[in-house]
Symmetry: C2
């Protein structure tokens, strides 16, 4: 049923502003700087709401609250695990400049007694991506990922993403076979995860959906032979360019698994071969 | 005179807790969560106070305000340029956990009318580095830097660091000759800067001084053939390990200079070949 709905949505391709992602990240102004939101159960992994989805929602609230619309650098510290249901986002304009503005946002949910519990706090600098210079001297190269039709998604094998998760129906991820050994019990031992990324309903990428993209692939820890939860402690994302329409390529690398923590660096490339987003997170490594 | 003082300090080697760095990053409790500080003119580049020095001071205040002492992940957004003189740091404990605590800190200075002007805002997660597991599976390799005696410092040539800056007297930086072409008008065109790092008075590194180290080398933009100021917009640092005594090696890389902005990734290695700190910043590229 969900798959049929997805296919129907794909036929009438969703657009930026009119898609599942846009509806599920909607925020409603309650009073100046304060937004009500509903965390959708559609973006959960097992029972936890995906951190990138939450980041996109916070990014959307800040884009409404600040005079500049596009996230340039978003630093998020994850405090407690979010659950589907109502939430409130409180924003603050920290500094408003001519080309850049800095703001802060916190997402709260409600305890049984009605107390607000903070889930994530974000510090972010916003600007106007369309005002950037045309000077591009990127020396990084797009990741060597096989063509999309040679990459593998959830329908191509025995539960490559462990634990049935609602978010897999909303994402169109095809992983490089070279980084999917973990799914068949043969992790490569390398801290690498690569793949093609899209939204299942065909909506193209924009700066807000890139905040989802950087935290959407399985963790590199799977390929390092570790199983279980890899909770994000801190995630900073730089959005460097408005992405061109079409599928994205995502490459994630871990070089320093030590002391029970690891970093994950994500690069996101668009169909025009532009490095559109770079992120780094610090996460707790699974225990085994 | 300053050099003579530095040499005297080197003879009676400074220690963690009793050094120029410790004295100049001192914060004094004014009331709960609020600290008075004095930004020293000794850590300026031309007229601007170094961003890493400010970060270390904020990190120190947070280490006093939070139940955990060691910075694990510190995200800083730079708002306005700091100047030597009095400052106040206002901290807030965001979440206090068993193994990690998250806090926020802002550094303010005073306008002529006495109004507080915010310079930097920081969101940070703290923990206990000595409680980390011994499990080390770092795949990154220390940078290939020539021995220290083959690297070059300010005394080895005609003003390798342009503009006489007070901070150069407090740091003991020796750059890899392969990344110093900019100093003689022949930048390599590669976004790389590497070198040995120490404090001039011989104080060993600790987690707080690592916050200084990640932003202390000349910017990679010099080797990319760009001259002038490369102001930091956002800088996030992960401290992954308490550094061993002895000199540090720092490697900085830029892969995406585009649209008038660039990222700088810094890796800091200690004398025991541990990757002790990783940072990434978003900075504005010089115009020419």
């Amino acid at each position: 049923m969900a798959q049929a709905a997805t296919q129907a949505a794909q036929t009438a391709q969703a657009t930026i502003g009119d898609s599942e992602f846009d509806r599920d990240t909607a925020v409603t102004l309650r009073e100046e700087g304060v937004y009500d939101a509903e965390l959708s159960a559609g973006w959960t992994i097992i029972h936890a709401v995906n951190g990138g989805y939450l980041l996109a929602m916070l990014g959307r609230a800040l884009g409404e609250a600040l005079p500049h619309a596009d996230p340039f650098s978003v630093s998020a510290h994850y405090l407690t695990a979010s659950v589907p249901g109502p939430a409130v986002i409180r924003t603050q304009a920290v500094r408003t400049g001519r080309t850049l503005s800095t703001g802060q946002a916190s997402l709260f949910q409600y305890a049984e007694d009605g107390t607000e519990v903070e889930r994530i706090r974000v510090l972010a600098t916003y600007g106007d991506l369309d005002a950037l210079t045309e000077d591009i001297r990127t020396s990084a190269k797009p990741p060597a990922i096989p063509p999309r039709e040679h990459c593998l998604g959830p329908s191509d094998g025995p539960a490559p993403i462990p634990g049935s998760s609602a978010i897999t129906e909303r994402l169109d991820i095809k992983l490089d076979p070279a980084t999917i050994g973990w799914a068949v019990g043969r992790p490569s031992g390398k801290g690498e995860m690569r793949g093609w990324f899209g939204l299942a309903d065909g909506r193209d990428a924009d700066p807000l959906s890139l905040l989802l993209t950087v935290d959407a692939l399985p963790p590199t820890s799977f390929e390092l032979g570790l199983k279980g939860w890899t909770p994000t402690i801190e995630l900073t994302t730089h959005i460097r360019c408005r992405p061109a329409p079409g599928p994205l390529r995502v490459s994630i690398t871990t070089r320093n698994l030590a002391g029970g923590f690891l970093e994950e660096d994500a690069d996101v490339w668009d169909s025009a071969d532009r490095l559109v987003a770079q992120s780094r997170q610090l996460a707790r490594a699974p225990r085994s």
